[in-house]
Symmetry: C2
Subunit: 316 residues, 2 copies
């Protein structure tokens, strides 16, 4: 293994440091979904995590790693989704100011959530350039620390704790399948699997309409989504320079799925498991059902990444 | 206590007999809902029960109480909702034939569920009279045992086990609040509370638009819903001669809620707890939020009765 990768001790330290600040979420099973899939699946329910997504783990760890002086100046991020909420809530719980740059057209419910956690919102034009510009301006003006949602080692290590918990409950998994967006979750999971799994593989699942990770593994370079028209709105982003080398070394495979496959898997989880998950969370199950032959008879861990959906705008 | 009531031993026997045939469902908490309500709530998640509702407990117990000869002739019920599914699944698991009379206009998804559990469906006109006529015809023609969804002592005792499990996890509840439809769940819960609670009360929650139980407790007679236009489709039915005496003796109070209060509570459960529950399940939380003063500072058990909803027809 590449010596520049984080070590097992790095993962254990993060696990110890954040375990009392995040929920050890339940692992659920569904006999009817197992029957459909022909494998035995264990769903790690990060939809039940604080603020409703695994990103809480990342935000808590990233803020914990800052010096006391850095914390006193606050943190800043830009996000239209879960990471903004995670940073706002983690910062609140750790007594740190959080500046969150959000596109002006972000859903009101997401702005309200960030505000309810005490995040200081700055609105900007709905482009990545505008978001980065505004975050940078705040970073410079108040000297706050910038937190990146996926391309940051502390974020990756925080994310790794979900798979560590899952492997504690089900040690003999054959594979763990996770959604791939910016790459932070799949990188963290692959580290956890490499140190704590027993002959376990990490498999990424990605919308065909935002298949930058699949293409990146093919080409060996970070590829970009030119467009990313997918219902799995958490998976539209691209890999980064920090997580890509980890993914390249430790992830066995990326499986791509169509939009209708994502929506069917989403409905299956809601109907059979009676839980609310967001579309991105359904991508791994869609992959298992699509590439069924790869999983037959296996013990498959699935990370349900989050449950923050607009109930008034469901895709079914 | 009235000597004709079932005894503590009756409840314990049922509990022992069915415990390996139903799920001991989890008890969840939500700090954000607790903060809103000003009380500490413990949600017993019968939406995670087999076939998605507490009625599985009743169906299993009612079939277990039949003689071997009766079981060999099968069971019959009429239902447009959860009880038909529960009887079909319980009968299948116990190797018994189940005849389920359903109105021809029942949603296809419900017919499909009954059929998938092996239930033999007979369709009829969508009136109570037609359902009863058809069920009676089947009962006579094949000599099957008729199972009533709520007005039957074995059904009531089966239902009681949900509150027994809840009180095992949280023994010092001040009250348990349950939805009131046909009266089987509230009667069973009140029996469990009277034997296994410590100074615990049973409170019913009912849609104002189907407030037969509230009116029945006022008048001392079983009152009927002339119309029952409520989103809580499991609560449109009336009390019966078997459960009403138990309810009269053991239920402290019925709280009535408006339709918009039910829908708000439903959305709150989905959004904050990330679980799928049916509208009837939200009626107790609506009652706690409406009559907040009665619950302030208390430890409140809530039975989330089920999670079978049509995801394509949500009320929000």
């Amino acid at each position: 293994m590449n010596t520049t990768l984080p070590t097992k001790d790095d993962l254990l330290k993060v696990y110890t440091d954040i375990r009392n600040r995040v929920h050890n979420t339940p692992v659920l099973e569904s006999s009817s979904i197992n029957n459909l899939a022909g494998s035995k699946m264990y769903f790690k329910c990060e939809n039940f995590q604080k603020m409703g997504a695994f990103k809480m783990r990342a935000a808590v760890n990233a803020i914990l790693r800052l010096s006391e002086e850095e914390r006193s100046r606050g943190v800043v991020t830009h996000s239209s989704g879960n990471f903004g909420q995670a940073v706002a809530l983690a910062a609140k719980e750790l007594g740190v100011k959080a500046y969150v740059v959000m596109p002006a057209n972000a859903p009101e419910v997401k702005k309200a959530a960030v505000a309810s956690y005490g995040g200081i919102i700055t609105e900007c034009e709905p482009t990545l350039a505008a978001r980065e510009f505004e975050a940078n301006r705040i970073r410079e003006s108040v000297n706050a620390s910038f937190l990146h949602p996926s391309n940051d080692l502390d974020v990756i290590l925080g994310n790794a704790t979900a798979a560590m918990e899952l492997l504690e409950v089900v040690p003999d998994l054959d594979m763990i399948v996770v959604p791939v967006g910016g790459g932070g979750l799949v990188a963290g999971t692959s580290l956890a699997v490499s140190y704590f799994g027993k002959q376990c593989k990490t498999i990424g699942a990605e919308p065909l309409n935002a298949d930058d990770a699949w293409r990146s593994l093919q080409s060996g370079n970070i590829e970009i989504n030119k467009s990313a028209d997918t219902v799995a709105d958490g998976l539209r982003t691209n890999l980064g320079s920090v997580n890509f080398p980890i993914i390249r070394e430790l992830v066995s495979e990326i499986i791509r799925v169509e939009e209708d496959e994502i929506i069917s898997a989403l409905k299956l989880i809601w109907e059979r498991m009676k839980i609310v998950v967001e579309p991105s969370s359904a991508v791994p199950l869609a992959a298992v059902l699509k590439a069924q032959g790869k999983f037959t008879g296996s013990r498959v861990g699935i990370i349900l990444s989050g449950g923050n959906v607009n109930l008034e705008k469901l895709p079914f």
